[in-house]
């Protein structure tokens, strides 16, 4: 087994443990490369099926082709696709000019919390488009595509990480985790975040995309302008990088020679040196 085989096996093992342990399980799909690889790993784990819903938090400011790609893949792969949104904040005109942390908190953290606990709207993709989902049960297991090498606080995560009643992450008192024995027992009102990609690096992601031939959204590739996205999110807060990479192989080669941080194009990280830790303590992905 090579390094990718080992990473794949560990992720598949985690996904199967999650499926066995949680009755109300979902997977967060941001449409980005990491959670798309994670979705592919779920199909590996369950022999072509994805036996739990995919949840996307739509801030309404996403790059438009992300939404088209999401719905196409959801239909092709026979996914249970759930979309959540903080409609109240959007009705109040929330946008990034009110402050990036304010906007992220409202449209991502708050929207996520409401969608997960069932107090906010959930829309399910059907043959006739999105309709309100009848299932409003709280999700007690939430699979998230966070990687340990993305930024400091993520490197301290567990594979199975408990979240409190307020969705908060108590990272000063995390459970021990050893020998692939995960925290699957939890108090009512709390839930567990599951991180199958914790050991993957950005390069591993692209190596796997290349090897498995995973159909990634094409925003990651240059289309002749000499620019591409390295990380995707909301249009106003996500910048492109100068790069002529058109394929996963070219991206791998490029990443091997750079040490510029992956999230350098993400504006919210620059607001405060501990911005991500603060966001994540409150329940951000």
């Amino acid at each position: 087994m090579d390094q990718l085989d080992r990473l794949e096996a560990q992720s598949v093992y985690i996904l199967r443990e999650a499926y066995k342990s949680f009755k109300n399980l979902c997977m967060l799909w941001s449409i980005g490369k990491d959670s798309t690889v994670m979705l592919w790993l779920a199909r590996k784990a369950f022999f072509g099926h994805v036996p739990f819903p995919l949840v996307h938090i739509d801030t309404s400011y996403k790059i438009p082709s992300m939404i088209a790609y999401r719905d196409r893949i959801a239909r092709e792969w026979n996914l249970t696709m759930i979309v959540g949104q903080n409609e109240e904040a959007l009705a109040g005109g929330m946008n990034h000019t009110r402050g990036r942390l304010v906007c992220c908190t409202a449209l991502k953290t708050q929207a996520l919390k409401q969608t997960l606990d069932g107090t906010g709207p959930r829309y399910r993709l059907t043959a006739d488009g999105y309709v309100p989902d009848s299932n409003r049960e709280p999700y007690t297991g939430v699979i998230v595509g966070a990687r340990g090498d993305e930024e400091g606080s993520r490197s301290k995560e567990r594979y199975f990480s408990p979240r409190g009643v307020d969705n908060n992450w108590d990272l000063d008192d995390q459970p021990p985790e050893l020998w692939n024995q995960f925290k699957t027992d939890f108090a009512p009102g709390t839930h567990i975040r599951i991180h199958p990609l914790l050991d993957w690096t950005e390069i591993n992601i692209w190596e796997y995309v290349e090897r498995e031939n995973i159909p990634m959204i094409d925003l990651y590739y240059d289309h002749g302008q000499g620019r591409r996205y390295r990380s995707i999110g909301c249009a106003p807060c996500t910048g492109m990088v100068t790069s002529t990479c058109r394929t996963p192989a070219e991206i791998i080669a490029e990443l091997r020679t750079t040490n510029v941080s992956e999230r350098s194009g993400r504006a919210q990280d620059q607001a405060d040196p501990h911005a991500m830790e603060k966001l994540r303590r409150d329940g951000y992905m």
């Binding site: 590996k44 072509g48 021990p176 050893l178 024995q181 027992d185 108090a187 080669a253």
Partner: protein, 595 residues
């Protein structure tokens, strides 16, 4: 002519290394140095740390490159294990920086359990400290065999070889005691960057490798493919609702290998079948088998009922099966591990309740001396215990196979301890007895009780020196028998009984199954216990595993008033008339008897 696509760069080998040691001995500084000196870190991140240090009025802290949490940077200590990646020309590394403070041992264990090799740091000025020893011991239990000891802060002792040599000899002796042989010792100064990546001229007396060279010299563990086959069943899938009719037994191969057509046996049930196919999704080719480390799924030639936690093995290479095991544990729980308490045990995918039968030995981790047997194991202690499981477990011993001998104990909602199976013991008689009655569909105890019109229960009479217990037992047996009750009287001897905890008596291994069988057959069991001054006052006979069957105690004590009717423990005055004693007891039992 078409242009050929860019070649895919070859995959690089990766190794996971953990850095452990006592608090403040410089672990995070060492890792920060490794990252910075190998050019593995984003200059923007170095700049970010420089800004934070300036704001706090500090010199540049290499440790801040890792101690990312706000509290960590304010307090200058590592709270949780961090991971970071760096590359040497030879391979890629995942470095796990484990906290050295005692309070965060659970985080250290979490970090170290993922590692293939370890660097153990000792401060040259402070020498071997409590956690230098505790971490060494835990590394051994976690099965990490490749360890290099880094003697840090040599600049603080003037790069003195004598200081270094003394630490080497003290720590080598300690590690030998716990069966760990370090690959090498390396004197360094992480702060100054001596002997980390660069070979500075500060310690000409040391001719050995640098830290980077030492970790490059660690070997990858040989694959477990050639060991006996073990695949713990993780789940059984049948995705009918997706139109999939396959019944797939899913799991990760812990050791060994198998191929389509191989005969396999599932333990503990012992069911045998053959592998019909190996399933997968989007595989480059149809798999013909699987090897250790792979997550896979198989279908069988004959459908056998298997449970999560069963071990798929090869006939003739079978693991141990037992419901009593001797285990070395390290305890991380908020509450101590207590004898007599029940915990959830998880070993690979097996999960079941177990009771702590005995705490045989507790090691004081700071000194690693043994204060001997105790009733409980405190947080951060290491101990040898006997666990009794509610249902049998298939496992291996820690010196045979690693993965199938490692377990954790869950207390409430939390993983509270880790351990390794040292030995399997004879099946506990109590659990054997339980199994006689738990079969679905059997004519069971409640059914018998309904038909016979009275409950089954145990009445334990603590005899006194005048043998009032035996006399009362006889009277009760006769009167119950004559009123059509199924009743059986036992006169227990001292060696039928086992003391458990401070206030309990259990039945010994040969007596328990007998009593359990009688009770499960619907009998009222009247048992007299031999005279024993302490027992007669404080100790109660209990039947672990048979809690559903009522159990009453009767004792004799001059001047006693009997006690409340609702209680299960009565003290009677032996001066009363035998007939009155008999009627009193029968009256208390009346809800369980025929009307």
């Amino acid at each position: 002519m078409t242009t050929s696509p860019a070649p895919v760069p070859a995959l690089r080998e990766q190794m996971n290394i953990v850095i452990v040691g006592h608090v403040d001995h410089g672990k995070s500084t060492l890792v920060g140095r490794l990252l910075a000196d190998t050019g593995s870190i984003d200059p923007a991140r170095i700049e970010k740390v420089r800004r934070i240090c300036e704001r706090q009025g500090k010199h540049f802290e290499y440790s801040f490159l890792l101690d990312a949490l706000e509290a960590e940077q304010e307090q200058g200590i590592t709270i949780d294990a961090a991971r970071c990646f760096f590359r040497s020309p030879q391979r890629d590394y995942l470095i796990i920086d484990a906290p050295g403070h005692i309070e965060f041992l659970k985080n250290m264990v979490t970090g170290a359990a993922r590692a293939e090799a370890a660097l153990l740091l000792i401060d040259a000025a402070e020498g071997v400290r409590e956690n230098s020893r505790r971490h060494g011991y835990v590394l051994g239990m976690l099965g990490i065999k490749q360890v290099a000891v880094v003697v840090n802060k040599m600049d603080r002792v003037g790069y003195d070889q004598a200081v270094y040599d003394a630490i080497v000899s003290e720590y080598t002796a300690f590690l030998a005691q716990i069966g760990l042989k370090p690959a090498r010792f390396i004197p360094v100064s992480a702060l100054q960057g001596d002997q980390i990546v660069d070979r500075n001229a500060t310690m000409p007396w040391y001719g050995g490798p640098t830290v980077l060279e030492s970790i490059d010299a660690f070997a990858k563990a040989p694959p477990a493919e050639d060991q006996p086959l073990r695949m713990p069943v993780q789940d059984v899938y049948r995705f009918n609702r997706f139109g999939d009719v396959r019944r797939i037994i899913a799991g990760r191969v812990a050791s060994g290998r198998f191929a389509v057509g191989d005969e396999v046996v599932f333990l503990p049930s012992g069911k045998r079948t053959r592998i019909a196919s190996v399933e997968g999704f989007s595989m480059r080719e149809t798999p013909a088998g699987a090897v250790a480390g792979q997550c896979t799924g198989v279908t069988m030639t004959e459908q056998v009922f298997v449970n999560r936690g069963d071990l798929m093995c090869r006939p003739g290479e079978q693991p141990r099966v037992s419901d009593r095991i001797r285990v070395n544990v390290f305890w991380l729980g908020r509450e101590p591990l207590r004898r007599g308490r029940t915990y959830k045990l998880k070993l690979t995918t097996y999960s079941g309740l177990c009771e702590v039968e005995k705490v045989e030995e507790v090691l004081d981790a700071s000194a690693l001396t043994s204060p001997g047997a105790r009733d409980r194991v405190e947080r951060h202690e290491v101990a040898r215990v006997i666990l009794r499981l509610r249902r049998p477990l298939a496992c291996d011993l820690s010196d045979e196979l690693e993965e199938t001998s490692r377990l954790v104990l869950v207390d409430g909602y939390d993983v509270a301890g880790g351990g390794i199976v040292r030995e399997v013991l004879e099946a506990g008689a109590e659990d054997a007895a339980l199994r006689w009655t738990t079969e679905v569909g059997a004519i069971n105890r409640p059914l018998r009780e309904t038909k016979q019109g009275h409950r089954a229960f145990l009445l334990a009479l603590h005899d006194d020196l005048d043998q009032n217990g035996v006399a009362l037992a006889q009277a009760l047996e006769e009167s119950l028998w004559s009123s059509s009750h199924n009743v059986f009287r036992l006169q227990l001897q001292a060696d039928d009984l086992v003391k458990a905890g401070t206030d309990e008596l259990h039945l010994g291994p040969s007596t328990y199954p007998l009593v359990a069988a009688l009770l499960n057959a619907g009998q009222i069991v009247i048992a007299t216990l031999p005279w024993n001054e302490t027992w007669a006052r404080t100790v109660a006979l209990r039947l672990p595993g048979l809690d559903v069957v009522p159990c009453f105690q009767v004792r004799f004590h001059a001047g006693a008033d009997g006690g409340d009717d609702g209680e299960a423990d009565w003290t009677l005055d032996p001066a009363r008339e035998p007939r009155a004693l008999h009627d009193d007891v029968k009256h208390r039992l009346k809800t369980l008897l025929r009307s």
